[in-house]
Symmetry: C2
Subunit: 211 residues, 2 copies
C-alpha cells in the first residue's frame, strides 16, 4: 500500500476535530467543500487525503459526519484507549497531566515517574508518582503503549534508553534535545520555542513568508 505523508496524517487529525465539533452541534452530513472551508484547505485535498484509506462518502450528498469521524478515528487509532506513562513532572509534565485533550482522544496517563524524592510517592492528580529508578520494571508490568518524556535535556537520552529497553514502541519527547532510538521505535519531538521562532521569522520577513 502507498505510504502516507505526515501532512495527510496531520490533516486527518484536523478533520477529526472538525467532525467532532459538528457532531456536537447535531450536524448530520458534510461535504468536502465545507470541511475544507472551515480548515482553510481545498476540497480536492480533503477527498484526496480520505481516498488513501477508502471511500467514505455518498456522491451528491457528502459524508455522514458520524461515520466519517468514526472512520478517521479508526485510521488514526484513536477509536480505542491508550495507556500512557509520563516521565518527569516538572512544569511541562504537570501541565500534561491536566491536559484535557489527552483523555478526550483516548490517551490516558496511567503512570508518572520522577527522580525528585520530594515528588515520589505523592499523588499528582490522583496518580501516585513512582521513582524513576523503577521505570523499566513498572513499564513492563503495565502494558504502557506510549511514553511522554518531559525531563531535562541532560537526562533525556538515558530515560529514552530505558523506555526502549522496556519494550515501548512510541515516545513523545518534550525535552529540548535530540535523542536517538533504534529502528522500530517511533519518536516525535515537540519544541515550543520552535513555534515561536516561526512567528519571529514571519514578523521579520513578512513579505517572503509563505502562508
Amino acid at each position: 500500500m502507498k505510504r502516507i505523508s505526515l501532512s495527510t496524517i496531520y490533516r486527518l487529525s484536523i478533520y477529526h476535530r472538525s467532525l467532532q465539533r459538528r457532531e456536537e452541534r447535531g450536524i448530520q452530513t458534510i461535504s468536502s467543500k465545507e470541511l475544507a472551508r472551515e480548515e482553510k484547505l481545498t476540497p480536492a485535498q480533503v477527498r484526496k487525503d480520505l481516498s488513501f484509506f477508502g471511500s467514505f462518502g455518498t456522491r451528491g450528498l457528502g459524508y455522514s459526519v458520524k461515520q466519517l469521524k468514526d472512520n478517521i478515528a479508526g485510521i488514526l487509532g484513536i477509536n480505542r484507549q491508550w495507556n500512557v506513562a509520563l516521565v518527569g513532572v516538572g512544569n511541562v509534565g504537570s501541565s500534561l497531566v491536566s491536559y484535557k485533550e489527552f483523555p478526550k482522544q483516548g490517551f490516558n496517563i496511567k503512570l508518572i515517574f520522577d527522580n525528585d524524592q520530594r515528588k515520589i510517592n505523592k499523588y499528582h492528580k490522583e496518580i501516585l508518582v513512582s521513582d524513576a529508578r523503577e521505570l523499566k520494571t513498572k513499564l513492563k508490568e503495565s502494558s504502557i503503549d506510549i511514553v511522554i518524556i518531559a525531563v531535562p535535556a541532560s537526562v533525556a537520552q538515558e530515560v529514552v534508553n530505558q523506555v526502549v529497553e522496556a519494550g515501548v514502541k512510541a515516545i513523545l519527547n518534550f525535552a529540548p534535545t535530540n535523542v536517538v532510538v533504534p529502528e522500530g521505535v517511533i519518536i516525535r519531538s515537540v519544541n515550543m520555542a520552535i513555534e515561536l521562532e516561526h512567528l519571529s521569522f514571519a514578523l521579520v520577513n513578512k513579505s517572503l513568508f509563505k502562508a
Copy 2:
C-alpha cells in the same frame, strides 16, 4: 524574492539548535554533511535551505559554526529580544512561564493576564498577573510583539479578537480550537494531542507510516 516553505523555516530552527550545541562544545567549523547526519537530513537539503538566504560557507572547508549560527539567528529573527505576553495561567500557561527555552531564544514573557480573581494581582514567577479586562490597554502600552493564548477553547476567539485590536501581529495559540484572524496577523496553533495521534497512527499502521 522566492517564498520560503514552512519546512525550510522549521529546519533552520533545527540547524540553529544544532549549531548552538556545537558552539558550546567549542567546535569551530561544520560541513553540510555533518549537520545533515546529526539531524537525519541530506547534505543537499542543508545547502539548499541555506542557499535561499545567501552563501555562508567556504568551499573545501564548510561553515564557521558561530557565523552560520548568527546568520540563521538573523534570518529567524532571534538575534534580538521579543516581548511576549501570556493570556491564561492555567496548567499550560504556567508551564510556559517557566519554560527555559523561551528566554534562551530571546522570547521574554513580560505580561501575564488571567480572568480568575484569585490569580490577578499576584505574582507568577516574578510577573504580576493582570486582569484580562485590561488586556487591550496594557498590550498597547507595552509594545508586545507576540501573544501566547493559553485559555479555554470557549473564550479563545474573544481573546484573540482583543489581541488583534490591540495591534499585535503574531499569536501562538494553545487553545484547542480554531480561531480566525484578519489578514496581516500571523497565528500558529499548537495541539499536543495531535502529536500523540501521530504516534497512535504509527503504532496502528506501522507498515504504511512514512518515516
